[in-house]
């Protein structure tokens, strides 16, 4: 089972000095934090803010390549969480053929935002994530801790 989610925000984890993209299920208000690289965070942020550059950035190039080849991004899925690493799939449609390609969630999200593809997360990943967050730091996403987080 998969749940459709959207990019809620992009914040900086002050403790690890690492960007975190927060996915959100608009129905249940469930949140999924994914720690990502600064480069990918920048790419997600510029797309969220609709900032345009004179030259194509790397994810723009990837989007342009897919368009050029008449390939559609059907959806992206955060499909697994193993050893503190999230895994994603980018589902592509070429003519009537569907296939998927392994990706880091950050790249998959950066592409989904540029192609208006829906973002899905596997239920199992949400359960695993909630377990690991509650084991590590139950207060992490409490609202009173918001001052620990700063919008990028």
């Amino acid at each position: 089972m998969y749940r459709q989610m959207t990019v809620s925000s992009l914040v900086m984890d002050q403790q690890t000095n690492t960007p975190v993209v927060i996915l959100k299920d608009p129905v249940t208000e469930t949140h999924l934090p994914i720690w990502i690289g600064l480069l990918e965070a920048t790419s997600i942020a510029t797309e969220l803010e609709k900032i345009r550059f004179p030259r194509p950035m790397t994810h723009d190039l990837l989007k342009n390549v897919l368009e050029h080849l008449n390939v559609t991004v059907e959806r992206i899925e955060v499909c697994d969480l193993r050893d503190n690493t999230y895994y994603a799939l980018i589902h592509l449609r070429v003519d009537d053929k569907l296939s998927s390609i392994d990706s880091r969630p950050s790249d998959a999200i950066a592409i989904a935002l540029r192609t208006n593809a829906p973002i899905f997360v596997r239920e199992e990943v949400l359960q695993k994530s909630q377990k690991s967050v509650s084991q590590e730091d139950k207060t992490m996403f409490r609202s009173e801790d918001k001052e620990q987080w700063e919008e990028i």
Copy 2:
């Protein structure tokens, strides 16, 4: 007219604190410096050093997408230099069809290294580059200035 070149080295311009990828014509020893972003420099450096990561980085994903779609990178070309900005083309082969896609040289080089595609530079770009380098700083690439440059 195009000239085939290879990646000679990746250095840090100490004055601007910007990475520079140096292309080289092995026959004439002509060099072409292209100032690039830190992210793209990292991607070029890891491929030059054959460093492998457990998960695909963004340029690895782009390479995997092309392979997955049976698309070959025939060659990349640094085709223009306008307003201090270099332009490149990635030439793709799908079945028997050739086409090209606009790219920054840094992304094109990162892809060329991963797909063993040859790197070409237009003669006109080399001429323009030599003019602009000699106007700005004739000593920039003299060997005695090597201490200004540090391998990334």
